[in-house]
Amino acid sequence: MSVNKDIFEINRDFNYDFESTGRTRQQWDAKDAVAERLVPTHCAFCGVQCGMNLKVANGQVIGVEPRDYVHNRGNLCPKGIVAYQQVNHPDRLLYPMLRRGGKGGKLERCTWEEALGYITSRWKDIQSKYGKDAVAVYSGSSMTNEKCYLAGKFARVGLQTRHIDYNGRLCMSSAAGAYTKAFGMDRAPIPMPDIPLADCIMVLGANVTECFPIVTRWVWQGRDRGSKLIVLDPRETPTARTADVWLPVKPGTDVAVLNAMLRVIIHEGLVDEAYIAARTNNWEQVKTMVEPFTLERAQELSGVPAARIKAAALIYGRSATSLIMHARGIEHHSHGVNNVLAGINLALARGQMGKPGGGIMMLTGQGNGQGGREHGQKASQLPGYRHIDMPSERQEIAEVWGVPVDELPWEGAAATEMPNLMAKGEIKSCLILCSNLMVSLPDNALVKKALTALDPLIVIDFFMSETAELADLVLPGSVWCEDEGTTTNLEGRVIKINAAAEPPGEARRDWEILCDLARGMGRGQYFPFQSAREIWDELRRASRGGVADYYGITWEKIDRQQGVFWPCPSLDHPGTPRPFTEKFYHPDGKARFTPIDFIPPAEEPSPDFPFRLTSGRVIYHYLSGNQTRRLGFLNAHAPDPWVEIHPQAAARLNIKDQEIVRVRSPRGSMELKALVVPTIRPDTIFIPFHYGHAGAVNQLTNPAVDPTVKIPEYKVCAATVEKIDQPLPVSGGAPKINFTPQDSPKMFPYAVGETKGPQEKEGKQH
């Protein structure tokens, strides 16, 4: 049965390898240690935030034990099981490092005093010469709410710069934008244990099994009850393998399928008219909009057989309770917001939003992807999901922070706009924490140019990331279980992360570093925090009265009731697990339909670049892979990227399985191994995105962004696959370009300040 051979031999079979792939000797050396205590906490990886217990002995984290938490019931994916091995990892950064010789010099060990002195003197100098906005902050969502909140406050109050944004921009900002527009609130409708109540689960662009393995637990419980499963994905993922209907869509054409499904539902009389009349607006416009989307037209646009679209529409439309789950597959597009809104239209037309087990829920990817986008580290946002351009909301936060409202900066550049400002010299220096831009941003040749133009570039990280390698100063931060705080998982459940160890060497907790920097900038009076709890209490006050109201969520309440769902406006409020049961959060309490027309992706295949390239995750890695590529068990299973290509396409190009091939797009080329498999569309290729340097798929991806939320189009660009001995063409060739920065002024790159089109203004009225 097993194809493993029967002899244990080092380097022969990773299943049985011990230590050699691990690089985690310290953990294994401690294998005889007996745990003194278990620290209950949650996983560092992905938005599910599974409960786990960390085994601690002699102040060291030595292992993991299951924790029976309400949403994972002791289950863990492989990332969760080995997450603890980051703590004493030999690659940890243990002291600050400064490039004393300037650009081109070496990173050398320095003291914290020297590091902080260097930053503050350089920043003061830059800000006095070029203005406050010349220094920017680029943060991330894989850290606690306390740190995310502090990053926003640090930029606006500590540095007084308008330029702060975060990597959530690259993650699910299109879903957040769509939910705000449709429901007036950006939150999942139900907790995960409600998933099995759905009679039909439709997964749109989400490889649930690899990216959110623990959600699969609830999907399968539904399947045991008889739920039907529909999957929309260009690849036959493990999720799609057992689905009732798999819709193998051409990347970038999801709207055609979703609109055609809605049309079938309308024509079959499966629309919930009473719900639409009572709880929604704008239905008639949508009805008119989808009418031209016949099955034939959808088939032609999307490449999905009409019969499959019809079958999916009938299953979805006839199910009493149906749940749509979606993730980056439909969100990473230059029309990502539209894709999500088309899904929302289906859920509303069937009257599902607000039903137990029904509706539409986004699967947020990052550890704290939900909480990190609520408390003001986004370019346009203040804590509590307030908008920085709304005078009344500015006033409220200025009062909490004790600063004059006129001192608060206005909206700054989005994460995807920042590289351009850096390259142009508008941003002179940037502090990057919890992000690895060299792997995560599209078209990384431009990103590299931008980051090298910064002087100084400062990076806080706990491993040497591809971005930190370019830094002028690297500060050693803490991993998740060396600090305490809260995160908000993809359900909207606020949970508590507990500390199990101290940061190693001279490494420090990120919030301590930010507070010290603020003091150095002479703004220490606004950052008097002595503990993460004090930051939490200020966050609660700051969010009070906002859409994402955390005021009533105390750490004690989180422990007592296994997490608290926001909004929770008062101390005696139990939290809101199902926020849309009775109302939506627009002033009239109704949800809004949005008519969505089909727009092609910014770039499509041409004779020069005949494939659609799409990128995504593998189960063994998390985001830019800076953490998981160092964990032996995970890296052993996916040490390098590969390109998935269908056997028909491979045969045409004379490419064999496992052969090294060249993949080229209008922006660059890379060489990697071909995986010839029939589980992908013949006109599509797939490369996982977790790798750096020559393995980064973002050498190829298109930096086109969604006009509303500026999410990049990672999920489709034109590309070609070649044998490596084939000479490169003299001219680069051209893709079919549907949009360029010229004919679509809202596309990247654009001037700062041009970020307030009518759509955004509407988005602000939440």
Partner: protein
């Protein structure tokens, strides 16, 4: 008393290797997994399946039967243990005897190693680490009645290798029409399917 055991459902396996990662966390063999996850045939499908010790009970533990030094012990509950290090002479008889290819020989330690159903955990009423971690229930721990009450699928604990039948403590979950896991019949069926032309008549899945 109901017998708690593992149920292996390949249709649910997503190949995430949580079970392997979890098995490596066991204090008695830290860093080594006794569970194996394999792609069935990645050139055709993303299907995967975990292999654990099936804890054969009729004939009782072929691996133990062929052990010349009685190093493989069977508990009163019928759980077949890994080789006792003080007895194992490293002859690999068990490796060749096992019909499922489960025991692995650690050449350096000169010791046979295999799954012992997390005996340390299960005697205390806990689940084995693999089934505890498994996100999909492809590896599931409990008794037969619980399984039937909670889940779809047809648990089978008889495997047929040609004319040899083995009854195991651990169940495979099969489609309802399969009375037992008949390996040879399944292989023949697969060969016939591949040689035939039925698959060519399938409707196109992309247009």
């Amino acid at each position: 008393m109901a017998i708690k055991t593992l149920f292996v459902d390949p249709s649910r396996c997503i190949g995430c290797r949580s079970c392997e990662a979890a098995c490596r966390e066991c204090d008695s063999h830290k860093g080594e997994s006794m569970v194996m996850v394999d792609f069935i045939d990645r050139g055709k499908s993303v299907a995967t399946q975990p292999t654990v010790c099936m804890h054969c009970n009729d004939p009782v533990a072929p691996c133990a039967q062929v052990c010349p030094v009685m190093a493989i012990l069977i508990t009163p509950e019928g759980v077949v243990q890994m080789a006792e290090p003080s007895r194992c002479i490293g002859c690999r008889n068990c490796v060749y005897a096992c019909p499922f290819g489960v025991p692995k020989f650690d050449a350096e330690a000169r010791l046979m190693k295999k799954c012992n159903l997390c005996y340390d955990r299960t005697v205390q009423g806990l689940k084995p680490w693999c089934a505890q971690a498994c996100p999909t229930g492809a590896l599931w721990y409990g008794d037969y009645e619980e399984f039937v009450a909670q889940r779809n699928g047809h648990p089978v604990n008889r495997t047929l290798f040609g004319t040899q039948q083995v009854n195991t403590r651990v169940y495979h979950v099969l489609p309802p029409e399969e009375p037992m896991l008949d390996i040879v019949a399944l292989l023949r069926e697969a060969e016939a399917k591949e040689a035939g032309t039925a698959w060519q008549d399938q409707e196109a899945w992309v247009l």
